[in-house]
Protein backbone atom coordinates (compact mmCIF):
# COMPACT_ATOMS: atom_id res chain seq x y z
CA UNK A 1 0.00 0.00 0.00
CA UNK A 2 1.42 3.35 -1.00
CA UNK A 3 0.37 6.80 0.12
CA UNK A 4 -0.71 9.43 -2.38
CA UNK A 5 0.65 13.01 -2.11
CA UNK A 6 -2.53 13.99 -0.24
CA UNK A 7 -1.95 11.32 2.41
CA UNK A 8 1.70 12.35 2.73
CA UNK A 9 0.56 15.98 3.12
CA UNK A 10 -1.88 14.99 5.88
CA UNK A 11 0.85 13.06 7.71
CA UNK A 12 3.26 15.99 7.40
CA UNK A 13 0.73 18.46 8.79
CA UNK A 14 -0.04 16.03 11.62
CA UNK A 15 3.64 15.77 12.53
CA UNK A 16 4.08 19.55 12.42
CA UNK A 17 1.03 20.00 14.68
CA UNK A 18 2.40 17.36 17.04
CA UNK A 19 5.74 19.14 17.32
CA UNK A 20 4.00 22.49 17.90
CA UNK A 21 1.71 20.89 20.49
CA UNK A 22 4.62 19.36 22.32
CA UNK A 23 6.77 22.49 22.19
CA UNK A 24 4.05 24.96 23.20
CA UNK A 25 2.05 22.47 25.28
CA UNK A 26 -0.94 23.37 23.11
CA UNK A 27 -3.89 20.99 23.24
CA UNK A 28 -5.46 22.79 20.27
CA UNK A 29 -2.57 21.64 18.06
CA UNK A 30 -2.79 18.11 19.48
CA UNK A 31 -6.48 18.04 18.51
CA UNK A 32 -5.50 18.65 14.87
CA UNK A 33 -2.79 16.01 15.00
CA UNK A 34 -5.12 13.39 16.50
CA UNK A 35 -7.84 14.23 13.97
CA UNK A 36 -5.55 13.83 10.99
CA UNK A 37 -4.09 10.59 12.35
CA UNK A 38 -7.61 9.23 12.80
CA UNK A 39 -8.50 10.29 9.27
CA UNK A 40 -5.48 8.50 7.79
CA UNK A 41 -6.05 5.26 9.68
CA UNK A 42 -9.78 5.28 8.96
CA UNK A 43 -9.20 5.79 5.26
CA UNK A 44 -6.48 3.12 5.25
CA UNK A 45 -8.83 0.53 6.75
CA UNK A 46 -11.65 1.43 4.36
CA UNK A 47 -9.27 1.31 1.38
CA UNK A 48 -7.92 -2.15 2.18
CA UNK A 49 -11.36 -3.64 2.85
CA UNK A 50 -12.67 -2.20 -0.41
CA UNK A 51 -9.67 -3.58 -2.31
CA UNK A 52 -10.22 -7.01 -0.75
CA UNK A 53 -13.88 -6.87 -1.79
CA UNK A 54 -12.97 -6.00 -5.39
CA UNK A 55 -10.32 -8.74 -5.51
CA UNK A 56 -12.61 -11.39 -4.05
CA UNK A 57 -15.39 -10.68 -6.54
CA UNK A 58 -13.09 -10.64 -9.57
CA UNK A 59 -14.16 -13.10 -12.29
CA UNK A 60 -11.94 -13.64 -15.33
CA UNK A 61 -12.74 -15.21 -18.67
CA UNK A 62 -9.86 -15.50 -21.13
CA UNK A 63 -9.93 -16.87 -24.67
CA UNK A 64 -6.81 -17.56 -26.75
CA UNK A 65 -7.63 -17.53 -30.46
CA UNK A 66 -5.85 -19.27 -33.36
CA UNK A 67 -5.39 -22.67 -31.69
CA UNK A 68 -3.14 -24.59 -31.93
CA UNK A 69 -0.49 -22.10 -30.90
CA UNK A 70 2.86 -22.32 -32.69
CA UNK A 71 6.16 -20.89 -31.58
CA UNK A 72 6.73 -17.34 -32.79
CA UNK A 73 3.28 -16.88 -34.31
CA UNK A 74 0.98 -14.13 -33.20
CA UNK A 75 -2.24 -15.09 -31.43
CA UNK A 76 -5.07 -12.93 -30.19
CA UNK A 77 -6.09 -13.03 -26.55
CA UNK A 78 -9.54 -11.85 -25.53
CA UNK A 79 -10.21 -11.27 -21.88
CA UNK A 80 -13.24 -10.26 -19.91
CA UNK A 81 -13.09 -9.43 -16.21
CA UNK A 82 -16.01 -8.55 -13.95
CA UNK A 83 -15.88 -7.35 -10.39
CA UNK A 84 -17.99 -5.37 -7.96
CA UNK A 85 -18.07 -1.63 -8.50
CA UNK A 86 -17.06 0.43 -5.49
CA UNK A 87 -17.73 4.15 -5.61
CA UNK A 88 -14.66 6.29 -4.94
CA UNK A 89 -12.25 3.44 -5.70
CA UNK A 90 -10.50 3.41 -9.06
CA UNK A 91 -9.74 -0.08 -10.36
CA UNK A 92 -7.30 -0.86 -13.18
CA UNK A 93 -6.74 -4.38 -14.47
CA UNK A 94 -3.90 -5.58 -16.68
CA UNK A 95 -3.57 -9.08 -18.07
CA UNK A 96 -0.24 -10.82 -17.56
CA UNK A 97 0.71 -13.24 -20.36
CA UNK A 98 3.44 -15.85 -19.82
CA UNK A 99 6.86 -14.53 -18.88
CA UNK A 100 8.46 -15.58 -22.16
CA UNK A 101 5.74 -14.08 -24.38
CA UNK A 102 6.15 -10.85 -26.35
CA UNK A 103 3.28 -8.40 -26.03
CA UNK A 104 2.45 -4.73 -25.68
CA UNK A 105 1.74 -4.02 -21.99
CA UNK A 106 -0.39 -1.03 -23.00
CA UNK A 107 -2.72 -3.25 -25.01
CA UNK A 108 -2.95 -5.80 -22.22
CA UNK A 109 -4.66 -3.24 -19.95
CA UNK A 110 -8.40 -3.82 -19.72
CA UNK A 111 -10.88 -1.10 -20.51
CA UNK A 112 -14.33 -1.40 -18.90
CA UNK A 113 -13.50 -4.97 -18.03
CA UNK A 114 -12.71 -5.96 -21.62
CA UNK A 115 -9.37 -6.45 -23.32
CA UNK A 116 -8.02 -7.73 -26.63
CA UNK A 117 -4.35 -7.90 -27.52
CA UNK A 118 -1.77 -9.76 -29.58
CA UNK A 119 0.84 -12.00 -28.02
CA UNK A 120 3.69 -14.11 -29.40
CA UNK A 121 4.95 -17.14 -27.52
CA UNK A 122 8.72 -17.38 -27.71
CA UNK A 123 9.41 -20.69 -26.00
CA UNK A 124 7.82 -24.03 -26.78
CA UNK A 125 5.94 -26.12 -24.24
CA UNK A 126 3.35 -25.28 -21.65
CA UNK A 127 2.92 -21.54 -21.13
CA UNK A 128 0.67 -20.56 -18.23
CA UNK A 129 -0.70 -17.03 -18.01
CA UNK A 130 0.51 -15.25 -14.89
CA UNK A 131 -2.91 -13.90 -13.87
CA UNK A 132 -4.07 -10.33 -13.57
CA UNK A 133 -2.46 -7.25 -12.12
CA UNK A 134 -4.99 -5.43 -9.98
CA UNK A 135 -4.34 -1.76 -9.21
CA UNK A 136 -6.71 0.12 -6.93
CA UNK A 137 -6.51 3.74 -5.87
CA UNK A 138 -8.49 6.29 -3.90
CA UNK A 139 -7.59 9.81 -2.83
CA UNK A 140 -5.26 8.63 -0.07
CA UNK A 141 -3.76 5.25 -1.02
CA UNK A 142 -2.86 3.03 -3.96
CA UNK A 143 -1.98 -0.64 -4.13
CA UNK A 144 -0.91 -3.08 -6.85
CA UNK A 145 -1.66 -6.75 -6.31
CA UNK A 146 -0.96 -9.83 -8.40
CA UNK A 147 -4.18 -11.79 -8.76
CA UNK A 148 -2.98 -15.24 -9.69
CA UNK A 149 -5.61 -17.71 -8.64
CA UNK A 150 -6.36 -20.81 -10.77
CA UNK A 151 -9.36 -19.06 -12.34
CA UNK A 152 -7.22 -16.01 -13.23
CA UNK A 153 -4.52 -18.11 -14.85
CA UNK A 154 -7.18 -19.95 -16.81
CA UNK A 155 -6.66 -22.66 -19.34
CA UNK A 156 -3.02 -23.49 -20.00
CA UNK A 157 -1.67 -22.88 -23.50
CA UNK A 158 0.64 -25.41 -25.08
CA UNK A 159 3.03 -23.85 -27.58
CA UNK A 160 4.04 -26.20 -30.37
CA UNK A 161 7.43 -25.95 -32.10
CA UNK A 162 7.41 -24.01 -35.35
CA UNK A 163 6.57 -25.98 -38.47
CA UNK A 164 8.36 -25.61 -41.77
CA UNK A 165 6.50 -23.63 -44.42
CA UNK A 166 4.00 -22.09 -42.05
CA UNK A 167 5.68 -18.69 -41.94
CA UNK A 168 4.14 -16.00 -44.08
CA UNK A 169 6.00 -12.92 -45.33
CA UNK A 170 6.02 -10.10 -42.86
CA UNK A 171 8.27 -7.59 -41.16
CA UNK A 172 8.86 -6.38 -37.64
CA UNK A 173 9.34 -7.95 -34.26
CA UNK A 174 6.27 -6.72 -32.38
CA UNK A 175 3.55 -8.81 -30.84
CA UNK A 176 1.47 -8.79 -34.01
CA UNK A 177 4.29 -9.50 -36.47
CA UNK A 178 4.86 -12.70 -38.41
CA UNK A 179 7.96 -14.75 -37.86
CA UNK A 180 10.32 -15.20 -40.78
CA UNK A 181 12.30 -18.38 -41.26
CA UNK A 182 15.56 -16.46 -41.54
CA UNK A 183 17.62 -13.99 -39.59
CA UNK A 184 15.73 -10.75 -39.21
CA UNK A 185 17.32 -7.63 -40.66
CA UNK A 186 14.97 -4.67 -40.40
CA UNK A 187 15.34 -1.77 -42.76
CA UNK A 188 17.31 1.05 -41.18
CA UNK A 189 18.38 4.45 -42.38
CA UNK A 190 22.14 4.07 -42.49
CA UNK A 191 24.45 1.67 -44.33
CA UNK A 192 26.88 -0.21 -42.14
CA UNK A 193 28.81 -1.80 -44.97
CA UNK A 194 28.74 -4.09 -48.01
CA UNK A 195 29.14 -7.83 -48.49
CA UNK A 196 28.79 -10.31 -51.36
CA UNK A 197 25.24 -11.38 -52.24
CA UNK A 198 24.04 -14.58 -50.55
CA UNK A 199 21.05 -16.69 -51.46
CA UNK A 200 17.99 -15.40 -49.61
CA UNK A 201 19.12 -11.78 -49.53
CA UNK A 202 16.60 -9.11 -50.44
CA UNK A 203 17.30 -8.11 -54.09
CA UNK A 204 16.31 -4.53 -53.24
CA UNK A 205 19.49 -4.30 -51.20
CA UNK A 206 21.85 -5.02 -54.10
CA UNK A 207 24.22 -2.13 -54.62
CA UNK A 208 24.44 -2.01 -58.42
CA UNK A 209 27.36 0.41 -58.66
CA UNK A 210 29.59 -1.75 -56.47
CA UNK A 211 28.35 -4.93 -58.18
CA UNK A 212 29.24 -3.53 -61.60
CA UNK A 213 32.66 -2.43 -60.37
CA UNK A 214 33.58 -5.88 -59.01
CA UNK A 215 31.70 -7.98 -61.52
CA UNK A 216 29.62 -9.83 -58.89
CA UNK A 217 26.61 -8.76 -56.83
CA UNK A 218 27.14 -6.95 -53.54
CA UNK A 219 24.43 -6.06 -51.04
CA UNK A 220 24.20 -3.20 -48.56
CA UNK A 221 24.23 -4.10 -44.87
CA UNK A 222 21.92 -1.65 -43.12
CA UNK A 223 21.96 -0.43 -39.57
CA UNK A 224 19.22 -2.19 -37.66
CA UNK A 225 16.33 -0.22 -36.24
CA UNK A 226 17.75 -0.60 -32.78
CA UNK A 227 20.98 1.14 -33.78
CA UNK A 228 22.94 -2.11 -33.67
CA UNK A 229 22.48 -2.55 -29.97
CA UNK A 230 23.79 -6.04 -29.20
CA UNK A 231 21.72 -8.89 -27.85
CA UNK A 232 22.69 -9.18 -24.19
CA UNK A 233 23.07 -12.71 -22.83
CA UNK A 234 23.63 -12.99 -19.08
CA UNK A 235 24.82 -16.31 -17.69
CA UNK A 236 23.63 -16.09 -14.07
CA UNK A 237 26.57 -16.98 -11.84
CA UNK A 238 26.24 -18.90 -8.59
CA UNK A 239 26.55 -16.43 -5.68
CA UNK A 240 29.91 -17.75 -4.50
CA UNK A 241 31.46 -17.71 -7.97
CA UNK A 242 34.59 -15.61 -8.27
CA UNK A 243 33.85 -12.44 -10.26
CA UNK A 244 30.06 -12.87 -10.07
CA UNK A 245 29.52 -9.33 -8.80
CA UNK A 246 31.72 -7.84 -11.54
CA UNK A 247 29.84 -9.73 -14.27
CA UNK A 248 26.41 -8.75 -12.98
CA UNK A 249 27.54 -5.15 -12.56
CA UNK A 250 28.87 -5.01 -16.13
CA UNK A 251 25.69 -6.61 -17.50
CA UNK A 252 23.54 -4.13 -15.54
CA UNK A 253 25.55 -1.24 -16.94
CA UNK A 254 25.07 -2.52 -20.52
CA UNK A 255 21.29 -2.95 -20.02
CA UNK A 256 21.01 0.56 -18.57
CA UNK A 257 23.01 1.95 -21.49
CA UNK A 258 20.75 0.29 -24.06
CA UNK A 259 17.56 1.47 -22.31
CA UNK A 260 19.00 4.99 -22.09
CA UNK A 261 20.25 5.18 -25.68
CA UNK A 262 17.72 3.05 -27.57
CA UNK A 263 14.76 2.97 -25.18
CA UNK A 264 14.71 -0.84 -25.19
CA UNK A 265 16.86 -3.88 -24.62
CA UNK A 266 16.75 -7.49 -25.75
CA UNK A 267 17.92 -9.78 -22.99
CA UNK A 268 18.42 -13.52 -22.73
CA UNK A 269 19.07 -14.83 -19.22
CA UNK A 270 20.60 -18.29 -18.92
CA UNK A 271 22.09 -20.35 -16.11
CA UNK A 272 24.55 -22.78 -17.61
CA UNK A 273 22.58 -24.82 -20.13
CA UNK A 274 19.19 -23.56 -18.96
CA UNK A 275 17.23 -20.71 -20.52
CA UNK A 276 15.73 -18.72 -17.65
CA UNK A 277 14.05 -15.81 -19.44
CA UNK A 278 13.99 -14.05 -22.78
CA UNK A 279 12.75 -10.48 -23.22
CA UNK A 280 12.65 -8.83 -26.61
CA UNK A 281 12.54 -5.04 -27.01
CA UNK A 282 11.81 -4.70 -23.31
CA UNK A 283 11.45 -1.14 -22.01
CA UNK A 284 11.08 -1.90 -18.31
CA UNK A 285 14.56 -1.32 -16.86
CA UNK A 286 13.57 -2.34 -13.34
CA UNK A 287 12.07 -5.60 -14.57
CA UNK A 288 15.21 -6.46 -16.53
CA UNK A 289 17.55 -5.65 -13.66
CA UNK A 290 15.39 -7.72 -11.32
CA UNK A 291 16.11 -10.76 -13.53
CA UNK A 292 19.81 -10.42 -12.78
CA UNK A 293 19.06 -10.94 -9.09
CA UNK A 294 17.54 -14.39 -9.68
CA UNK A 295 19.27 -17.37 -8.16
CA UNK A 296 20.34 -19.95 -10.77
CA UNK A 297 18.46 -23.26 -10.38
CA UNK A 298 20.31 -25.91 -8.42
CA UNK A 299 19.60 -28.87 -10.70
CA UNK A 300 21.36 -27.83 -13.87
CA UNK A 301 21.42 -30.37 -16.66
CA UNK A 302 25.06 -31.26 -17.28
CA UNK A 303 26.15 -31.12 -20.89
CA UNK A 304 29.26 -33.29 -20.51
CA UNK A 305 31.73 -30.74 -21.81
CA UNK A 306 30.33 -30.14 -25.28
CA UNK A 307 32.94 -28.85 -27.70
CA UNK A 308 32.49 -26.57 -30.63
CA UNK A 309 32.29 -28.57 -33.93
CA UNK A 310 35.12 -26.42 -35.29
CA UNK A 311 37.39 -27.54 -32.43
CA UNK A 312 36.37 -31.16 -32.96
CA UNK A 313 37.09 -30.94 -36.69
CA UNK A 314 40.56 -29.59 -35.94
CA UNK A 315 41.16 -32.42 -33.48
CA UNK A 316 39.89 -34.95 -36.04
CA UNK A 317 42.33 -33.70 -38.66
CA UNK A 318 45.15 -33.84 -36.15
CA UNK A 319 44.19 -37.37 -35.03
CA UNK A 320 43.91 -38.61 -38.60
CA UNK A 321 47.45 -37.51 -39.30
CA UNK A 322 48.76 -39.66 -36.42
CA UNK A 323 49.61 -43.32 -37.02
CA UNK A 324 49.28 -44.54 -33.42
CA UNK A 325 46.29 -46.70 -32.48
CA UNK A 326 44.88 -44.39 -29.74
CA UNK A 327 44.83 -41.51 -32.19
CA UNK A 328 43.03 -43.64 -34.77
CA UNK A 329 40.42 -44.64 -32.16
CA UNK A 330 39.99 -41.00 -31.21
CA UNK A 331 39.46 -40.15 -34.87
CA UNK A 332 36.74 -42.81 -35.18
CA UNK A 333 35.02 -41.45 -32.05
CA UNK A 334 35.22 -37.88 -33.29
CA UNK A 335 33.83 -38.84 -36.70
CA UNK A 336 30.90 -40.58 -34.97
CA UNK A 337 30.18 -37.53 -32.81
CA UNK A 338 30.39 -35.11 -35.74
CA UNK A 339 28.32 -37.36 -37.99
CA UNK A 340 25.54 -37.87 -35.46
CA UNK A 341 24.27 -34.33 -36.02
CA UNK A 342 22.32 -34.31 -32.75
CA UNK A 343 21.96 -30.78 -31.42
CA UNK A 344 21.46 -30.31 -27.68
CA UNK A 345 18.23 -28.67 -26.54
CA UNK A 346 20.09 -25.59 -25.33
CA UNK A 347 21.68 -25.02 -28.75
CA UNK A 348 18.26 -25.25 -30.39
CA UNK A 349 16.86 -22.74 -27.90
CA UNK A 350 19.78 -20.36 -28.47
CA UNK A 351 19.25 -20.77 -32.20
CA UNK A 352 15.56 -19.89 -31.88
CA UNK A 353 16.40 -16.77 -29.90
CA UNK A 354 18.87 -15.65 -32.58
CA UNK A 355 16.27 -16.26 -35.29
CA UNK A 356 13.76 -14.15 -33.38
CA UNK A 357 16.14 -11.24 -32.87
CA UNK A 358 17.64 -8.87 -35.39
CA UNK A 359 20.79 -7.89 -33.48
CA UNK A 360 23.98 -8.48 -35.42
CA UNK A 361 26.11 -8.76 -32.30
CA UNK A 362 25.68 -11.00 -29.27
CA UNK A 363 27.43 -10.13 -26.02
CA UNK A 364 27.61 -12.84 -23.37
CA UNK A 365 28.37 -11.95 -19.75
CA UNK A 366 29.58 -15.02 -17.90
CA UNK A 367 31.67 -16.02 -14.92
CA UNK A 368 31.50 -19.70 -15.81
CA UNK A 369 34.86 -21.46 -15.74
CA UNK A 370 34.17 -25.09 -14.82
CA UNK A 371 32.17 -25.97 -17.94
CA UNK A 372 32.09 -23.88 -21.10
CA UNK A 373 29.70 -26.21 -22.95
CA UNK A 374 26.85 -23.70 -23.07
CA UNK A 375 29.22 -20.99 -24.33
CA UNK A 376 30.38 -23.30 -27.10
CA UNK A 377 26.77 -24.02 -28.05
CA UNK A 378 25.97 -20.29 -28.17
CA UNK A 379 29.08 -19.80 -30.32
CA UNK A 380 27.90 -22.55 -32.69
CA UNK A 381 24.44 -20.98 -32.94
CA UNK A 382 25.92 -17.50 -33.47
CA UNK A 383 28.21 -18.75 -36.22
CA UNK A 384 25.29 -20.52 -37.92
CA UNK A 385 23.22 -17.31 -37.80
CA UNK A 386 26.17 -15.12 -38.84
CA UNK A 387 26.24 -13.05 -35.68
CA UNK A 388 29.30 -11.53 -34.11
CA UNK A 389 29.89 -12.98 -30.66
CA UNK A 390 31.69 -11.34 -27.76
CA UNK A 391 32.19 -13.13 -24.45
CA UNK A 392 32.94 -10.94 -21.45
CA UNK A 393 34.27 -12.62 -18.34
CA UNK A 394 36.13 -11.66 -15.18
CA UNK A 395 39.83 -11.04 -15.59
CA UNK A 396 40.64 -13.89 -13.15
CA UNK A 397 38.80 -16.46 -15.32
CA UNK A 398 40.61 -15.78 -18.57
CA UNK A 399 43.07 -18.62 -18.12
CA UNK A 400 40.36 -21.26 -17.75
CA UNK A 401 38.93 -20.74 -21.23
CA UNK A 402 41.17 -23.27 -22.98
CA UNK A 403 38.21 -25.31 -24.22
CA UNK A 404 36.27 -22.32 -25.42
CA UNK A 405 35.24 -22.10 -29.06
CA UNK A 406 37.70 -20.03 -31.14
CA UNK A 407 34.84 -18.12 -32.78
CA UNK A 408 33.98 -15.45 -30.17
CA UNK A 409 36.07 -12.48 -29.17
CA UNK A 410 36.88 -12.79 -25.47
CA UNK A 411 37.10 -9.63 -23.37
CA UNK A 412 38.09 -9.33 -19.73
CA UNK A 413 36.13 -7.14 -17.34
Amino acid sequence: MQATPLAVGCATVAVVLGVIGLYLDSLAAVVGMMGLAGLLFGRGIVFLFRTARVADNLQVERVVENRPVYLGTSVEVKIRATTSTVRGLQVRLTDLPPQSAVYDPGEAALSNGLGKYQVRFMTPGEAPFRGLQLETADGFFTVTILHAGPRDIGERVFVLPVEKGMSKPGLGAGAGATELARAGSPQGEGIRGFRPFRQGDNPARVDWKLSAKHGRPFVRELNSETGNAPLVVVDLPAPETCGAAAILSAASAEIKRQIREYGQCTLLVIAGGEVIAFYQHERNLVGLLRLLGLQPPESLHPMFRVKDPVVLMEKLRSAERELFLPSQRLAIALRTVLGAGVRPVFEREADQVLVATEQREVVVYTASSADTSHLNLIAAAARRRRRRLVIRLPRSEQGSMAWLSPYPRVEAI
Binding site: D25, A28, L48, G88, G149
Partner: protein
Amino acid sequence: MERRSVVFLSALVVVAVGALLVPEKEPGVDVLVVLLGAGVAATALTGYGGQFLLLCLGETFAVALGTASLPLGVLFQPVIAGMLCGDDWMSLTVGGAATLMAAAVVLVFPRTLFLLLVLLLVSAGMTIGLTGFEAWMRHRLSAGSAA
Protein backbone atom coordinates in the same frame (compact mmCIF):
# COMPACT_ATOMS: atom_id res chain seq x y z
CA MET B 1 -22.12 26.33 -5.66
CA GLU B 2 -21.74 22.65 -4.76
CA ARG B 3 -23.76 21.27 -1.90
CA ARG B 4 -20.58 20.12 -0.20
CA SER B 5 -19.13 23.65 -0.28
CA VAL B 6 -22.34 25.10 1.15
CA VAL B 7 -22.27 22.61 4.04
CA PHE B 8 -18.58 23.32 4.62
CA LEU B 9 -19.03 27.11 4.64
CA SER B 10 -22.09 26.87 6.89
CA ALA B 11 -20.15 24.76 9.38
CA LEU B 12 -17.24 27.19 9.17
CA VAL B 13 -19.46 30.20 9.90
CA VAL B 14 -21.19 28.41 12.80
CA VAL B 15 -17.95 27.45 14.55
CA ALA B 16 -16.40 30.87 13.87
CA VAL B 17 -19.41 32.65 15.41
CA GLY B 18 -19.28 30.17 18.27
CA ALA B 19 -15.61 31.02 18.86
CA LEU B 20 -16.35 34.75 18.78
CA LEU B 21 -19.05 34.30 21.41
CA VAL B 22 -16.80 32.45 23.84
CA PRO B 23 -16.04 34.70 26.84
CA GLU B 24 -12.61 35.24 28.47
CA LYS B 25 -10.39 34.43 25.50
CA GLU B 26 -6.77 35.34 25.01
CA PRO B 27 -6.42 38.71 23.25
CA GLY B 28 -6.12 38.49 19.46
CA VAL B 29 -7.88 35.14 19.09
CA ASP B 30 -10.99 36.79 17.61
CA VAL B 31 -8.90 38.48 14.94
CA LEU B 32 -7.12 35.19 14.17
CA VAL B 33 -10.39 33.29 13.87
CA VAL B 34 -11.91 35.89 11.54
CA LEU B 35 -8.81 36.18 9.33
CA LEU B 36 -8.14 32.45 9.08
CA GLY B 37 -11.84 31.67 8.60
CA ALA B 38 -11.97 34.13 5.71
CA GLY B 39 -8.84 32.53 4.25
CA VAL B 40 -10.26 29.01 4.50
CA ALA B 41 -13.57 30.12 2.98
CA ALA B 42 -11.79 31.86 0.09
CA THR B 43 -9.62 28.79 -0.54
CA ALA B 44 -12.64 26.47 -0.52
CA LEU B 45 -14.64 28.73 -2.84
CA THR B 46 -11.93 29.54 -5.37
CA GLY B 47 -10.13 26.21 -5.26
CA TYR B 48 -6.85 28.12 -5.30
CA GLY B 49 -3.95 26.10 -3.88
CA GLY B 50 -5.88 22.86 -4.03
CA GLN B 51 -6.44 20.47 -1.18
CA PHE B 52 -3.04 21.08 0.40
CA LEU B 53 -3.66 24.77 1.09
CA LEU B 54 -7.14 23.93 2.30
CA LEU B 55 -5.70 21.31 4.65
CA CYS B 56 -3.02 23.62 6.06
CA LEU B 57 -5.31 26.64 6.43
CA GLY B 58 -8.11 24.46 7.81
CA GLU B 59 -5.88 22.99 10.49
CA THR B 60 -4.51 26.43 11.40
CA PHE B 61 -8.07 27.67 11.71
CA ALA B 62 -8.90 24.63 13.86
CA VAL B 63 -5.96 25.44 16.14
CA ALA B 64 -7.25 29.00 16.49
CA LEU B 65 -10.71 27.63 17.29
CA GLY B 66 -9.22 25.19 19.78
CA THR B 67 -7.34 28.05 21.45
CA ALA B 68 -10.65 29.82 21.94
CA SER B 69 -12.56 26.69 22.92
CA LEU B 70 -11.25 23.10 22.68
CA PRO B 71 -14.64 21.47 21.81
CA LEU B 72 -14.99 23.84 18.85
CA GLY B 73 -11.59 22.72 17.53
CA VAL B 74 -12.66 19.09 17.92
CA LEU B 75 -15.96 19.71 16.13
CA PHE B 76 -14.24 21.34 13.18
CA GLN B 77 -11.99 18.28 12.52
CA PRO B 78 -14.68 16.21 10.73
CA VAL B 79 -15.44 19.25 8.56
CA ILE B 80 -11.83 19.25 7.33
CA ALA B 81 -12.03 15.49 6.79
CA GLY B 82 -15.22 15.99 4.78
CA MET B 83 -13.50 18.41 2.43
CA LEU B 84 -10.55 16.05 1.89
CA CYS B 85 -12.57 12.88 1.41
CA GLY B 86 -14.36 12.10 -1.81
CA ASP B 87 -18.04 12.22 -2.64
CA ASP B 88 -18.92 8.72 -1.52
CA TRP B 89 -20.79 8.41 1.75
CA MET B 90 -18.73 5.49 3.05
CA SER B 91 -15.48 7.50 2.94
CA LEU B 92 -17.17 10.57 4.37
CA THR B 93 -18.78 8.68 7.21
CA VAL B 94 -15.76 6.58 8.16
CA GLY B 95 -13.30 9.46 7.68
CA GLY B 96 -15.44 11.93 9.61
CA ALA B 97 -16.20 9.50 12.43
CA ALA B 98 -12.58 8.39 12.80
CA THR B 99 -11.41 12.01 12.82
CA LEU B 100 -14.02 13.08 15.38
CA MET B 101 -13.33 10.17 17.70
CA ALA B 102 -9.56 10.59 17.54
CA ALA B 103 -9.82 14.33 18.18
CA ALA B 104 -12.35 13.84 21.00
CA VAL B 105 -9.80 11.78 22.94
CA VAL B 106 -8.14 15.12 23.76
CA LEU B 107 -11.25 16.20 25.67
CA VAL B 108 -11.09 13.02 27.76
CA PHE B 109 -7.34 13.06 28.44
CA PRO B 110 -6.20 16.69 28.21
CA ARG B 111 -2.45 15.99 28.65
CA THR B 112 -0.17 16.68 25.70
CA LEU B 113 2.70 14.26 26.37
CA PHE B 114 0.38 11.41 27.30
CA LEU B 115 -1.64 11.90 24.12
CA LEU B 116 1.48 11.96 21.96
CA LEU B 117 2.72 8.71 23.49
CA VAL B 118 -0.69 7.07 23.02
CA LEU B 119 -0.79 8.20 19.41
CA LEU B 120 2.69 6.82 18.84
CA LEU B 121 1.67 3.40 20.16
CA VAL B 122 -1.64 3.39 18.29
CA SER B 123 0.15 4.42 15.09
CA ALA B 124 2.62 1.56 15.43
CA GLY B 125 -0.17 -0.91 16.09
CA MET B 126 -2.31 0.32 13.20
CA THR B 127 0.63 0.28 10.81
CA ILE B 128 1.49 -3.29 11.75
CA GLY B 129 -2.15 -4.31 11.47
CA LEU B 130 -2.67 -2.72 8.06
CA THR B 131 0.63 -4.08 6.72
CA GLY B 132 -0.22 -7.54 7.99
CA PHE B 133 -3.68 -7.43 6.45
CA GLU B 134 -2.21 -6.32 3.13
CA ALA B 135 0.42 -9.09 3.20
CA TRP B 136 -2.26 -11.67 4.05
CA MET B 137 -4.42 -10.43 1.18
CA ARG B 138 -1.49 -10.56 -1.27
CA HIS B 139 -0.63 -14.08 -0.20
CA ARG B 140 -4.23 -15.22 -0.44
CA LEU B 141 -4.69 -13.79 -3.93
CA SER B 142 -1.39 -15.00 -5.32
CA ALA B 143 -1.89 -18.46 -3.81
CA GLY B 144 -5.25 -18.68 -5.49
CA SER B 145 -7.45 -19.33 -2.49
CA ALA B 146 -9.51 -16.22 -3.10
CA ALA B 147 -12.10 -18.25 -4.92
